[in-house]
Amino acid sequence: MGRVEYWGEHGMSDLHKISVTINGEAIRASVPARLNLVDFIRTEAGLTGSHVGCEHGVCGACTIEVDGAMVRGCLMLAVQADGATVTTVEGFADSDFGPALQEAFQNNHALQCGYCTPGMLASALEYLRGVRSSATGPDRAAIRDHISGNYCRCTGYQSIVNAIAEVATSKAEGKS
């Protein structure tokens, strides 16, 4: 358990008990109703891999997996995650396409400052799970569309699309 942030004005009576499984670990906590899920993960669970870029659902830096769906951690409240299973970048190595993506992002130079990377990986995971194997190779336009809700200010996206396409190709070839 991480440090408990000062909830100040909320007072103890406004706290809600939740239990969440994050990267396989069950966490119980009392949180204010208005605490964002990503803030909860960063401060309470001490998992700082999920980043906060805009805090209103536009940049995608906070994208995480909740019960199999990719969500914006800044648009979901911690109390809404009560009973949910959450996977963050720190847990992607144990997920289906996680290791392949992590490899491909490194080898394709799909990051510079790296701040967008955890959210980008989450969206890439979602894409790979949904994509059908195709004989014509990876659909780069579809990849671009799929990650267009994740901003990257550094790379120009070329290398990111390359990395995802590489994993999509090996998926199609049955390698992962």
């Binding site: 990051l111 955890p118 671009r144």
Partner: protein, 807 residues
């Protein structure tokens, strides 16, 4: 050898596993407080009353600090002490920090900050370029004017002329990680500051001033930034100082992080410009005289505006030889955020000016703009190859460049190991920039020829014209624009760097230098240099956080100079240690130091081969110091900014881009279809990292000139203060076809680190090709010149379409 290898970013593994630590991820000590500024909601006025009782009474608030409570200097300016951290009587822009809230949590601080009652008697703000001109509100008195040649005579004899104006919008940095700082008090008044800054030394300096303590009591550390782009050169000062002041007052650690809206509301952006131009030229498109009037909107404080405006003037020629030119620069003071450094630092705006002129002339002559550009290029330094071969004129010599002409940098690198060629000696200048610097390293003709060839510019231009003839609504356009960007700080004394290198007895190396990592790959490139000098694998080199206690008095990581400066400083430090080890081993083996080789993790001496670790151990036992500092200062540069004469740059970086776009003439909507880029990174230290800079730079430049629109209302409020209203490029906005390559023939003629070229800023200006391609597409709609402004939003494109149709 690790130099020239496309190694991944040093922190790549940490980033993909979420374990790379940004400032906000550092576990804060117990009792850490959070800070927030209370902001002005008026753009200009005088503070008549301040009531902060409600703020003080708000839950979780520990202290509230105003200008009157500050222990030392109330200033966070990087230049002329004109930037109070907290307003002291006068308010200069909407969003200006008025007071500082110190509270138990981030949220508590932010909520309390909204409760302040500051009464401001408003005055009419000066917001626009026109208003500033009307009120004569400016920095540096009157305009700065540089001239070359007899401009009036040239205009009198020029057969043709055009004139016009272009508006060029600013740009929000939108570093994904917002501004953030953390101060941790130590014993005896010492402070450790973690700051997301490109300029730790300046943060240290400003904190020391604010506290009235010596700089030795303040240590600033920066491990990495989540993007900087110039936006963290001076804009982090306020947070570092605020944390320091609050930590000193409360004795507790203090952290400050701007929420995104606050970040965009408070911090400076790229300068928006208006550029008026007049050009006289011949029937073939050769420029004879050009006149530019550049108006830069600088915002409320001087910040870095003077060197930014200078750099715009310094790039008014881009890659073109201008026989007679007059550049007039107005640095206008307005009641808006203080415009600041942003990748290119004024250069991009200056370049857009001359590229517009080229486009306008071509339109006037009914010719392909590329032909007009070619007629005006500076001559290449030395015939084809850029790296060798005489141009036949006998005026320029290349005998000092050792490599064979036909080889690319990959082959050349293989052919030659660590030897660095002697410095280039120069022939008398035959072509000079408007500021009198000889252009001795030009490769623009060749790079453009190579790009136009591989990307089939001519054929595509023809095909597009045919396609457009058959397409009534959608119109495509294509343009090739070059980049010539000057490398060095124009403030000459900033061109210095230091490094600190330790070798431990197990052969591992601790590396530190003054440069900061913001994603650009500086740390990895410099580590590659260190590994190369010692002949050891890169894993043996530990890259450590930038720290003012290790390397002092550093310059900002800016002006694309990070690798050039710090790479050389690190090389100097490594070579110092290497020489000491070599001397020691040579002594022991009765050999010459020059016979000691460092390769493949081993050291060879007189037939013996020992590991680098063993060599380090022997040196240690023989009482040889295995620690050294390194220092580097850029040679040759000298610059008189008042006269506008001298050699501000060590060399130029070149590149060229072709963009192809399509517009919808009913809506103005537009898209980039394809981009082809060839960029000169010299002989790159890490081609993969450099390629990333080129790709990212182009997209960022294209964003600046198309979708990234900053809008202020008539009260001076920035209405585009979040990504919901300010549009940076997403993956779906980048071109479908994106062919990017480093120029294989690249080689720095100057003696830079392994003959590489700086690559941080120059590629941003490749994005200018998008604006020109849009102009090309719009021009198909009628006879009038489009005079397309930037950013070329759908609205601006539509305006231009209407203009073109009018007579």
């Amino acid at each position: 050898m690790s130099v020239a290898k496309p190694l991944p970013h040093d922190a790549a593994r940490l980033h993909v596993t979420g374990t790379a630590r940004y400032l906000d991820d550092i576990p804060t000590p117990t009792g850490c407080l959070s800070l927030a500024f209370g902001l002005s909601d008026v753009a200009r006025g005088t503070i008549t009353a301040t009531n902060l009782n409600a703020v003080r009474a708000a839950p979780g608030v520990v202290a509230v600090i105003t200008a009157d409570d500050l222990p030392g200097a109330n200033d966070v300016s990087p230049s002329v002490h004109d930037e109070p951290m907290l307003a002291d009587g006068e308010v200069h822009y909407l969003g200006q920090p008025l007071f500082l809230v110190v509270a138990e949590s981030h949220l508590a601080a932010r909520k309390a900050a909204r409760l302040g009652k500051v009464v401001i008697t408003p005055q009419d703000p000066i917001l626009t370029i026109d208003q500033a001109l009307e009120e004569d509100s400016r920095f540096e008195g009157g305009p700065v004017i540089w001239t070359k040649g007899d401009i009036e005579a040239a205009f009198r004899t020029a057969p043709k002329s055009v004139e016009g104006t272009i508006e060029i919008g600013g740009q929000e940095h939108f570093y994904l990680e917002g501004q953030v700082a953390l101060a941790i008090p130590g014993e005896d008044g010492d402070l450790l500051i973690h700051s997301s800054t490109q300029h730790p030394t300046e943060a240290q300096h400003k904190v020391a001033e604010a506290l009235g303590t010596p700089m030795h009591s303040v240590r600033v550390e920066t491990r990495r930034m989540g993007g900087g782009f110039g936006g963290k050169e001076s804009q982090g000062n306020a947070l570092a100082v605020a944390c320091a002041v609050a930590a000193a007052q409360t004795g507790r650690p203090c952290k400050m992080r701007y929420d995104r809206d606050d970040d965009m509301t408070i911090t400076g952006k790229r300068h928006d410009f208006r550029i008026k131009y007049r050009a006289g030229y011949g029937a073939g498109g050769r420029l004879l005289a050009v006149e530019f009037t550049q108006y830069a909107r600088c915002g409320w404080s001087q910040d870095l505006s003077l060197p930014v405006a200078d750099r715009a003037m310094l790039h008014a020629d881009n890659a073109y030889d201008l026989p007679a030119v007059r550049i007039e620069s107005h640095r206008l003071k307005t009641n808006t955020q203080s415009a600041t450094a942003f990748r290119g630092f004024g250069g991009p705006q200056g370049m857009v000016g001359i590229e517009r002129v080229m486009d306008h002339i071509a339109h006037d002559l009914g010719r392909d703009p590329l032909e007009v550009r070619r007629v005006n290029f500076y001559d290449d330094a030395i015939g084809e190859g850029g790296a060798s071969g005489a141009d036949g004129s006998g005026e320029k010599s290349d005998d000092v460049v050792p490599e064979p002409a036909k080889l690319g940098w990959r082959e050349r690198r293989k052919a030659k190991k660590a030897a660095v060629a002697p410095a280039v000696t120069t022939e008398p200048a035959v072509q000079t920039t408007p500021y009198g610097m000889a252009v001795e390293d030009c490769v623009v003709n060749e790079i453009v020829a190579d790009l136009a060839g591989t990307a089939q510019y001519d054929a595509r231009r023809k095909e597009i014209a045919e396609w457009n003839a058959k397409s009534p609504i959608l119109k495509r356009g294509i343009a090739l624009t070059p980049v010539k960007f000057g490398i060095s700080f124009t403030l000459t004394h900033l061109n210095q760097a230091g490094a600190l290198v330790h070798v431990y007895t197990d052969g591992s190396v601790h590396l530190n230098h003054g440069g900061t990592e913001m994603g650009q790959g500086l740390f990895q490139k410099v580590a590659q240099v260190a590994a190369d000098r010692f002949g050891i694998p890169i894993e043996m080199v530990k890259i450590t956080a930038t720290d003012t206690a290790k390397v002092p008095n550093t310059s900002a990581t800016a002006a694309s100079s990070g690798t050039d400066l710090n790479g050389m400083a690190v090389k100097a430090a490594c070579d110092e240690i290497r020489d000491r080890i070599a001397d020691c081993l040579a002594d022991l083996h009765q050999a010459q130091p020059s016979d000691v080789w460092f390769e493949d993790g081993h050291v060879q001496v007189a037939g013996n081969r020992l590991t680098f670790a063993a060599a380090a151990g022997i040196a240690y036992e023989n009482r040889v110091s295995l620690s050294a500092t390194g220092f580097y200062k850029t040679p040759k540069v000298e610059w008189d900014r008042v006269a506008g004469k001298g050699r501000p740059f060590l060399y130029f970086a070149y590149g060229a881009a072709i963009s192809e776009v399509v517009i919808d003439t009913l809506t103005g909507e537009n898209r980039i279809l394809r981009a082809d880029i060839l960029h000169d990174a010299g002989a790159p230290l890490n081609p993969a990292i450099d390629l990333g800079q080129v790709e990212g730079g182009y997209v960022q430049g294209a964003g600046w000139l198309t979708t990234e629109e900053l809008v202020w209302d008539d009260k001076g409020k920035l209405t585009t203060h979040a990504p919901s209203t300010y549009k940076i490029p997403a993956a779906s906005d980048r071109p479908e076809v994106f062919n990017v390559a480093l120029w294989e023939k690249g080689l720095n003629r100057e003696n830079t680190i392994f003959r590489s070229k700086a690559v941080g800023e120059p590629p941003l200006m490749l994005g200018i090709s998008v604006l020109m391609a849009l102009s090309d597409a719009v021009a198909t709609g009628g006879k009038t010149y489009p005079a397309l402004n930037a950013p070329a939003t759908s609205e601006q494109v539509m305006n231009a379409i209407i203009r073109v149709r009018s007579e």
